[in-house]
Amino acid sequence: MQLTLEFGGGLELLCDSVKIHDVNVIPNNEVDKLTMKDLLVWVRTNVIKERPEMFMKDDSVRPGVLVLVNDCDWELSGQLDTPLEEKDVVVFISTLHGG
């Protein structure tokens, strides 16, 4: 599944200061469905290079990290249960850095 991931608000520092990542995520279950929960695990393994605790806490993002799927707050789409589809754009922004 082709997705565009964008990291901002300082989170890009955890992945070699690259803000936009075009990725191909292969769902590991057979029904070919991918949710945000699956994506977070994939991102932590494949994209985050350092300090993963700045990105995740338990099985979700760290509180204070905002998530938007296709420019829509993931709190409106079910957070971890948000289903993902081909060409979706997922944005992660930290609110925890500087002011």
Binding site: G8, P63, D73, L76, T82, G98
Partner: protein, 353 residues
């Protein structure tokens, strides 16, 4: 063509009932679209400004600008509101250059872009000019312990001195609701009653030369970041290279955990801070003037002068200590530090008021 997923994902705005909702407001839990969000976000700040009479027509106002999200959004929104509602304010950007290579020099570039983008004149004051030391030099001398104390004390004065140079009537800062809730908690944890009683005031220092106010006192950090993201505002977001920020970090994380469970918690902590009654038997420091530089101080010398004296004499520990100065053990410290109260080694905080 309406797939189940798509259906579940598209919700209409609670306010206009026409456009697709784009975010959930932490304050009200309402699901609203981008356009309605801009409107309520800006209007709420306008109402806070009007209700608290933060400004008078004709005033010169400096916006404390770090290049970070809060001050960038504040500069943008304030210039909008000033135009829209004819506040009649002269707005300026005021930045402090602490002299931290790879951090402040980069964020100052952002402020310089903001100067052009928003058409606001910018003044930069530097630690080097004001105190003769950059933070890089201070850290070389004292190491990574207590450096945030120096930086916090110096920044507070630097903003006041910059504001005086700009001849402004007031200084506004981008402190948001999350910051204030965090500061309430920290002041409780430190037993700092003097700060606890003033940290929730929307305006402080009215008796001093340059009052400060916080138009974002009730504005959630989430909404500030969402606003900056949707409007594609240009801000800088790197943690200071010298700031371990451990203690404040814990308080911050605790607030964010609470917010996830119950977003109103942030406003409720601010309310608790506002409603505290300080017992009349609590000793409060009396405000005076520093004998050396004339800055406001509750002691003979202000904190910046004590810290600077230590740096210049090669005794950087001067002025750093655990004693609070309000008990009997205080006398010993008095002799050591020119009659000034020792101050606590604190974590980084540009949030002190």
């Amino acid at each position: 063509m309406e797939g189940n997923h798509e259906k579940a994902r598209v919700r209409l705005c609670y306010l206009c009932n026409q456009r697709r909702a784009a975010l959930k407001r932490p304050k009200t839990l309402e699901q609203i679209c981008r356009e309605c969000f801009y409107e309520v976000f800006e209007e709420e700040i306008h109402q806070v400004i009007v209700k608290n009479q933060l400004f008078k027509p004709g005033e010169r106002i400096a916006i404390g600008a770090s290049g970070g999200k809060d001050s960038t959004v504040l500069a943008y929104v304030l210039s909008e509101l000033n135009r829209r509602h004819n506040y009649g304010l002269d707005l300026f950007l005021l930045s402090v250059d602490e002299g931290i290579t790879g951090y402040r020099d980069d964020s100052l570039e952002t402020v310089k872009r903001n100067e052009l983008q928003y058409g606001l004149p910018l003044k930069i004051v530097s630690y080097k000019d004001l105190y003769g030391w950059t933070m890089d030099e201070i850290v070389k001398t004292i190491g990574l312990k207590n450096n945030c104390t120096f930086c916090g004390v110096f920044r507070r004065q630097a903003l006041d001195r910059g504001a005086a140079l700009l001849k402004v009537d007031k200084l506004v800062t981008g402190h948001n609701a999350d910051d204030i809730a965090e500061t309430v908690l920290l002041n409780i944890l430190r037993g700092d009653i003097a700060r606890l009683s003033r940290c929730t005031s929307i305006t402080t220092g009215e008796d001093g030369p340059i009052p400060r106010c916080k138009p974002f006192k009730y504005t959630y950090e989430k909404e500030i970041v969402m606003y900056a993201y949707f409007k594609r505002l240009d801000y800088f977001s790197t943690e200071c290279i010298y700031s371990p920020n451990a203690y404040r970090g814990f308080a911050r994380e605790f607030i964010k955990d609470l917010e996830r469970m119950r977003p109103r918690a942030i406003l409720d902590i601010i309310k608790s801070g506002e409603d505290f009654r300080i017992s009349t038997s609590t000793k409060m420091p009396e405000q005076g003037i520093c004998e050396r530089c004339g800055y406001i101080s509750s002691q003979k010398w202000c904190k910046a002068c004590v810290l600077l004296e230590g740096l210049n004499k090669g005794l950087p520990k001067l002025g750093i200590g655990r004693s609070r100065g309000l008990d009997n053990n205080h006398r010993k410290d008095v002799k050591q530090s020119n009659g000034t109260k020792n101050i606590e080694g604190k974590q980084c905080g540009s949030l002190d008021f």
